[in-house]
C-alpha cells in the first residue's frame, strides 16, 4: 500500500502537506519565540513584518504563533473524535448487520434519529447542556459523524456477509465473535481507512463552525475557528487576520479530502459510496 | 462444405496486450460457418472460445486485440468483406443487423429500467427498421409469441425483474431475432439455466434457425448442448482447434486424446464406471512460446515427438480434421 501511495501523485502530495502542517503544529514552541496568549498591548494590530511574520491581533498577540497552536488544537479535535466516531460507527454497523433482527432495527432507528437532527443544532444542544469545552466539542462531533459511518459500515458488512465463507465458518462451528474478527473486520479495514480520512475534514469544519459561533473552544484556548471568529471585526481593515486561519482550514480540509479520495481508489477501486 | 459460406475465419490470432508483451490467446484458428448451419465451439474455460466469438463482432475487451488473420463475411457469392479491417462504425452497423449475440447472463444483459417491449423496440429503432408504432408493436408481440412467451401482449409491458431466467433468455432471443440477422452467436447462452429450461431454449434456437435459415455459432463447454443442436463442431484447447468434425462423427469416432478425455469426463445417465476417466491436471498457464503440442503435458498418450513439434491439422475423413501426432490417416 505504501508503494501505491508514493505512485499516486494526489495521495503523495496531500499526505506531504498534512505531514508538514502536523509537524509544524507539534513543534510549535520551537518554531516561534512568542507565547500564544502573551499580550503585548504596545504592538497591537501590527501588519506582517520582520518582528511578527503574520502580524499581531488586537491584543498584540503574535498571529503566527496563534496559528500554530490553533492548528494543533484543530488537528487534535479532527483526529480524536473522528477516530472514536469510526470506532463506535463500526461497532454499531457491524453489530446491526451481523446480528440482524431487532438489534438491526434498533441500531438503524438510532442512526436515523441522529441523522434526522441537523448536526449543528445537535451540537448546540450539547454545548448548552454541558458547556462549551474541548470534551463537549469532541462529544458532539462523535455524535454527528457516528451515524453516517455506522450506515456505510453496515452496508459494507452486509455485502461481506453474503460471501459463502461466512456460511462455511458458521457450519464449522466458529463462534460469532470469531467470525466477526477473522472474516468481517479484516475486509472492512480499507473501507474504514477511507471513512476515517474522509471524515476528518468534516470534523475540522464542525469544530471551526462551533468555535466561530462562540460555543466551541473557549478562550484562552485557541483553535482555527476561534481565530477566524476573533478577527471578524477587522475583516476589512486587516484582512490577513482572518484570511490566514481560514486559508489554513481550507488547505487542511482539501488535503484530507484529496487523500481520502486517492486512498479510496488505491484501496478499493470497486467501491463507491 | 466450402460451397455456401456465410462467414470464414482464416488464421485468426487474438492477443492480450500486457505492458511489454502480447500473450496470444487465440492462436491462428480457421473456421467456416456455412449458411443455415449451427456450428458449435467447445472447450474448457480459458480456451479462447469466447474471444473468438467476440472478435467476430468486434466487442473484445480493451486489453485484447486481433493481431492477425481475417474474418471474411460473404455478403453474396462474390462480395466478401473482412470484418477485421472494417472501421468500428461500419462494423457496429453490420453487427446489429446481420449478427446478433446472446450472452450467458440474461439478468445483466437487459436494462432493468426499461419495459420488455420498449427494449425490443429500441433494437428496431437503432437499425432503422421501425415502422409505425402500432405496426412495430404488433411485430414485437408476434416475435415474443414465436419465442414461446405466453400472453405476449401482456408481457410487452413487463419489467425484466418480473420474468424468470428462462423467460429473460427468451426475451434476449426475441431481441436478437427481431432484426432478422443472418448469424446468431450464442455465448454460453443456456449455461445458467435449469436443465428443463435449457432444453426448451435449445429447441427454440434450433427451430428459429431452421425457420429463418439462419446460421448460428454456439459457444459452450457443455457437450450435451453440442449434441442437441449443432451440425458441426470445433474443439478448442488453449487457443487452437484440436479437432473438428460433424457432430455425429465426433461423438461416434473421437480421435484426439483431448476430445476423448472430454467425452469420458462426462457422467452418463446410466452405466457409469466406478471412477470417471478424466484428463489429469489443470489448464496450464502458457506465456512462453512452446514448440510442441499444447496438450502434451496432460495427454494420455506418451509420445516424445509431441514435446518438440506441433502437429498440423490433418484431414482424416470427410469433414473430419485432427491436430495430433498419434492419429494416422
Amino acid at each position: 500500500m505504501a508503494k501505491k501511495i508514493f505512485q499516486n501523485k494526489t495521495a503523495f502530495i496531500s499526505l506531504c502537506i498534512i505531514l508538514i502542517i502536523a509537524l509544524m503544529a507539534v513543534f510549535a514552541p520551537f518554531l516561534s519565540g512568542y507565547e500564544a496568549d502573551r499580550q503585548d498591548l504596545l504592538s497591537r494590530l501590527m501588519p506582517p513584518g520582520p518582528q511578527h511574520i503574520l502580524g499581531t491581533d488586537e491584543l498584540g498577540r503574535d498571529l503566527f504563533t496563534r496559528l500554530l497552536y490553533g492548528t494543533r488544537v484543530s488537528l487534535l479535535i479532527a483526529i480524536i473524535p473522528t477516530a472514536l466516531a469510526v470506532l463506535f460507527g463500526t461497532l454499531l454497523g457491524v453489530a446491526g448487520a451481523y446480528y440482524g433482527r431487532y438489534v438491526d432495527v434498533l441500531i438503524t432507528w438510532l442512526v436515523d434519529v441522529t441523522l434526522a437532527f441537523p448536526g449543528m443544532l445537535l451540537a448546540m444542544v450539547i454545548m448548552y447542556t454541558f458547556g462549551g469545552s474541548l470534551s463537549s466539542v469532541i462529544l458532539s462531533i462523535i455524535i454527528m459523524e457516528c451515524g453516517s459511518i455506522a450506515r456505510v459500515v453496515r452496508s459494507a458488512t452486509l455485502s461481506i456477509l453474503e460471501n459463502e465463507y461466512i456460511l462455511a465458518a458458521k457450519t464449522m462451528g466458529v463462534k460469532n465473535l470469531t467470525i466477526i474478527t477473522t472474516h468481517v473486520l479484516p475486509h472492512l479495514v480499507p473501507t474504514l481507512i477511507v471513512l476515517f480520512t474522509l471524515n476528518i475534514p468534516g470534523s475540522i469544519l464542525s469544530e471551526s463552525a462551533l468555535s466561530f459561533l462562540g460555543i466551541g473552544i473557549q478562550p484562552p484556548d485557541v483553535s482555527l475557528g476561534l481565530l477566524v471568529s476573533q478577527s471578524k471585526a477587522f475583516l476589512f481593515k486587516m484582512p490577513w487576520l482572518s484570511l490566514v486561519p481560514s486559508g489554513m482550514i481550507m488547505i487542511l480540509v482539501l488535503a484530507f479530502n484529496f487523500l481520502g479520495d486517492a486512498l479510496r481508489d488505491i484501496l478499493d477501486p470497486k467501491t463507491r459510496y | 462444405m466450402n460451397e455456401d459460406l456465410l462467414l470464414e475465419i482464416k488464421n485468426l490470432t487474438v492477443s492480450i496486450q500486457k505492458k511489454n508483451e502480447s500473450i496470444p490467446i487465440v492462436k491462428g484458428i480457421d473456421m467456416d460457418l456455412p449458411n443455415g448451419q449451427i456450428v458449435g465451439l467447445v472447450g474448457e474455460s480459458g480456451c479462447g472460445k469466447s474471444m473468438t466469438a467476440k472478435s467476430i463482432n468486434g466487442i473484445l475487451p480493451s486489453v485484447a486485440k486481433v493481431t492477425g488473420g481475417s474474418i471474411l463475411w460473404h455478403d453474396s457469392k462474390d462480395k466478401v468483406t473482412d470484418l477485421v479491417t472494417l472501421k468500428e462504425k461500419d462494423l457496429r452497423k453490420r453487427c446489429g443487423q446481420d449478427i446478433a449475440m446472446i450472452f450467458q447472463e440474461p439478468m445483466t444483459s437487459l436494462n432493468p429500467m426499461m419495459r420488455i417491449g420498449d427494449q425490443i423496440r429500441e433494437v428496431l429503432r437503432i437499425h432503422k427498421l421501425e415502422k409505425s408504432p402500432s405496426q412495430s408493436r404488433e411485430q414485437i408481440i408476434k416475435m415474443l409469441e414465436s419465442v414461446g412467451i405466453e400472453n405476449p401482449s401482456l408481457r410487452y409491458n413487463s419489467w425484466p425483474h418480473e420474468l424468470s431466467g428462462g423467460m429473460r433468455q427468451r426475451v434476449m432471443i426475441a431481441m436478437a431475432m427481431i432484426s432478422s440477422p443472418k448469424l446468431l452467436i450464442a455465448d454460453e447462452a443456456t449455461t445458467a439455466l435449469d436443465v428443463t429450461t435449457q432444453a426448451q431454449i435449445l429447441k427454440l434456437m434450433k427451430s428459429m434457425c431452421t425457420k429463418s435459415s439462419m446460421s448460428a455459432l454456439v459457444i459452450t463447454h457443455n457437450m450435451g448442448v453440442v449434441s442437441a443442436i449443432c451440425d458441426y463442431v470445433y474443439v478448442m484447447y488453449l487457443g487452437t482447434v484440436m479437432e473438428q468434425a460433424k457432430v455425429s462423427e465426433l461423438f461416434s469416432n473421437p480421435l484426439h486424446p483431448y476430445t476423448r478425455g472430454l467425452l469420458s469426463s462426462i457422467p452418463k445417465l446410466s452405466g457409469n464406471p466406478e471412477y470417471l476417466k478424466t484428463i489429469p491436471g489443470n489448464i496450464p498457464v502458457v506465456n512462453k512460446k512452446f514448440p510442441g503440442c499444447e496438450f502434451c503435458i496432460r495427454c494420455s498418450e506418451d509420445v516424445q515427438k509431441c514435446f518438440f513439434e506441433n502437429p498440423p491439422l490433418k484431414q482424416v475423413g470427410e469433414d473430419h480434421f485432427v491436430r495430433c501426432h498419434t492419429v494416422s490417416l
Binding site: G173, P186 | G165, V195, T197, A199, H221, M223, L269, N282
Partner: protein, 258 residues
Amino acid sequence: MDNSVLLSASHLKKKYRIDRKNSIFAVNDVSLDIFTGETLALVGESGCGKSTLSKILMQIIKPDEGTVSFEGKEISSLSERALRPYISRMQMVFQDPASSLDPRMKIRDIIAEPLKAFKIYGTQAEMNERILELTDMVELKEDCLNRYPHEFSGGQKQRIGIARAIAASPKLLVCDESVSALDVCVQAQILNLLKRLKNQLGLTCLFISHDLSVVSFIADRVCVMKNGAICELAPAEKIYSAPEHEYTKYLLASVYCP
C-alpha cells in the same frame, strides 16, 4: 450400506413471505431418512427448495415446523451450544469455490479453521500434521499451504474446500452443487475425489445437484424435489430406468447426453 439412519427429517416446513399477504413454502412437509454410508442425491430445478432443505438439515436455518434428528437424537430444538458437537459431524462443501474461501486467509488457516473451532487438537504440531494429511488426501501439494486462494484455479479451490469440510472427521458430508461451477474435466476429477474419499473415510453423503447425469454417477438413492415437496424418492437405478413420477420423467427427458 448398513441400515441405521444417520440423519432423519420429519415433516419439515419452511415458509418465506413474498409480500404482506402471500408466502410460499420453500420446503413443504418434507420427511426423509439418510442411511449411514449411502449417498443420497437431492435433485430439482433452481427454486425447488433443495438448498433450503439442506440448510435446515445443517441447522443453518430453523424450520417453521418439523424436526431433524441425528443418530436418533433430535437436534433441531437444541441450543447453539448443545448443537456444537453435532455440527462437527456434519460438514458442507459449497457451490462457489471462489466465494467460500476467505480471500485474506492462507490455505493453512482455512483448513485449520474447523480444527480450531472444534478444538480438536491440543498442540500446534499435531494440528500441522493433520493439515498435511488433509492436503495429501485431496491431492494438493504441501507448498500450497502458505499461499492465498486467488492463486489457485477453481478445481484446486474446491479441493481446499473439501479438505476443510473433512478436517473435523465428519460423518455426513453435504455437497451443495459442489461441482456445478466447474469445467467438465475438473468436475470429473472432483467427482472422483469425492467418491474416493467417501469410500476411504466411510462418509455419508448428501449430494445436492440439478445435473441428473452427475447424480447418476455418484448417488445410491435419488430424491426429486419440486416446489418444496418430494416428488419421488427411490434407488438411483430405479429413477433412471423406471421413473414413476411425471416430473422425474420430464427432468430426464431434458437431459442431453452426448
